[in-house]
């Protein structure tokens, strides 16, 4: 073999390391629906609502007589606290150096929703407690998180997407737990009436609020 051949081989090897910055299977794109300020606003709404949820779940543990549900509420309490922590830590990365400033409900209706959801305390109101969380609030979390994940920039806002994925996995798991608990509790026509009436009352307020981040929670307001 001659010297030229050796040189060609070296060049070929070098060329083999030249790769496109985005592999063919990597279809992530730059454009996203939310700028930094809008992302921070939404994240602040998430944190406030997750906080209210974990506080409610923690407070309700002592008020429910069903032992299996008592234990589930304790478990879910931590998951939502962890989501609140994720959002709390994300806010300074979004130029909000005082996370408390943006830790707020989307609007007055959202605040009223949380007050109405956390109002049941009596030990005989487990159905009402679970309906508010698992049939109204958590489905709204799943909707808002999914919309955000699918519409934010996959490159510039990757840290938010990562947190959304973790949170969404928990939300789906918790929703399923909650639905199973509710189905096991709802046994009579009166139970059905209690569940549906309470759900309707809470949905009315939630619709007025427009979702976790207000109007636009799951898309541009028409």
């Amino acid at each position: 073999m001659g010297a030229d051949t050796t040189t060609d081989t070296a060049t070929d090897t070098s060329r083999s390391h030249v790769r496109a910055p985005f592999a063919p299977w990597d279809r992530r794109d730059l454009p996203g629906s939310f700028d930094v300020a809008e992302t921070a606003r939404r994240v602040g709404n998430y944190k406030w609502t997750e906080m209210k949820l974990f506080e409610a779940l923690g407070g309700w543990v002592a008020t429910v007589p069903e032992l299996d549900i008592k234990m589930r509420l304790g478990t879910h309490c931590y998951r939502h606290a962890w989501h609140a922590e994720l959002w709390h830590k994300r806010l300074p990365e979004l130029r909000e150096m005082k996370p408390e400033r943006l830790t707020a409900p989307a609007n007055d209706a959202m605040e009223r929703f949380v007050a109405a959801m956390t109002e049941p305390e009596d030990s005989g109101l487990t159905i009402e407690k679970l309906v508010g969380v698992y049939r109204v609030l958590i489905p709204r979390f799943i909707a808002a998180y999914t919309y955000h994940m699918n519409n934010t920039s996959e490159i510039t806002d990757a840290p938010t997407i990562r947190s959304l994925k973790f949170a969404l996995q928990d939300e789906f798991d918790d929703w399923r737990d909650g639905e199973l608990m509710l189905q096991s509790l709802i046994k009579t026509p009166d139970d059905v009436r209690r569940a549906t009436e309470h759900q309707a009352a809470l949905e009315d307020i939630m619709v007025e609020a427009g979702g976790i981040t207000g109007p636009g929670s799951i898309g541009p307001v028409q």
């Binding site: 506080e55 923690g58 002592a62 008020t63 304790g74 478990t75 709390h88 049941p120």
Partner: protein, 283 residues
Amino acid sequence: MRQFFPVEDLARDDRFVQTNMAERMSDTRSAVDLQRTAKSRGASNRLTPDRHDASDAARSLMHGIMVGEIQALEGAGRTAHDFDAGDGSEGTIPFELKLDMARQAWDEARHVEISVKLSDWMGTEIGQFQENTVLFEAACSNDPVLRLAGVNRALEGLAIDVFTQMKEFGQLADDPFLEFCEDWMLADEVTHVKMGSDWLRRVTENDPDRRAKALDFQRVVDKLFSFGGARGESEESPIGLARRFRELAGFTDDEVDTIAGMDHDALEERKEVVRLARETADV
């Protein structure tokens, strides 16, 4: 939902039968009767498999652990709920402390799951023994710092002692299932005590009076948890004081000595009560 939740309203299903510390201590049947136990248990009252009543005593203790974990779960959940996030003043607690309380609620929920399964393993049914609500009472203070002292340091400290005893019981009884589970719960409790010690120090950093008040409250709760000498370093006490694990959890030697002293005094007081009761009965 109310901000603070009274112990009388704790929600339970129909299987549970509740009592409180005053009722329990006024029941002379629960006394450490050394004359009688010395005959049947030998020189030591420690909960070991060779005691003739070991099976019942272990089942009773496991049931006590289970209801204690339920109350610890409820207490942690309430602390996550009852106080707004803030700088620690005027009835607020730091956001990170609320997160730690939520984490503790999850840990205690797992402990309930573990102790329910262990109770079943040991042949105990839920509600077979009374539930003493003293643990939740310690978690009811309106001052979050007192809750840290009463729950995380006194109550969870007691849990360290109890789990260490049960782990040893599992070892001696050749029950690896029991030993395995107790060891896991012990690890969590050491974490909770350390968490409570750290937060107590941080929240009261610039308020020595509040810290002193909290530590006074802890001593009151620790004395309650001496259960008339049921916990202590004396071999007359069924549950030992787990010095090594308490040290890991951040207790100083002086603090453990103080608790040991209170346990000893409580045992002597109880013995005196029993002696007087027996004399009165003889009369």
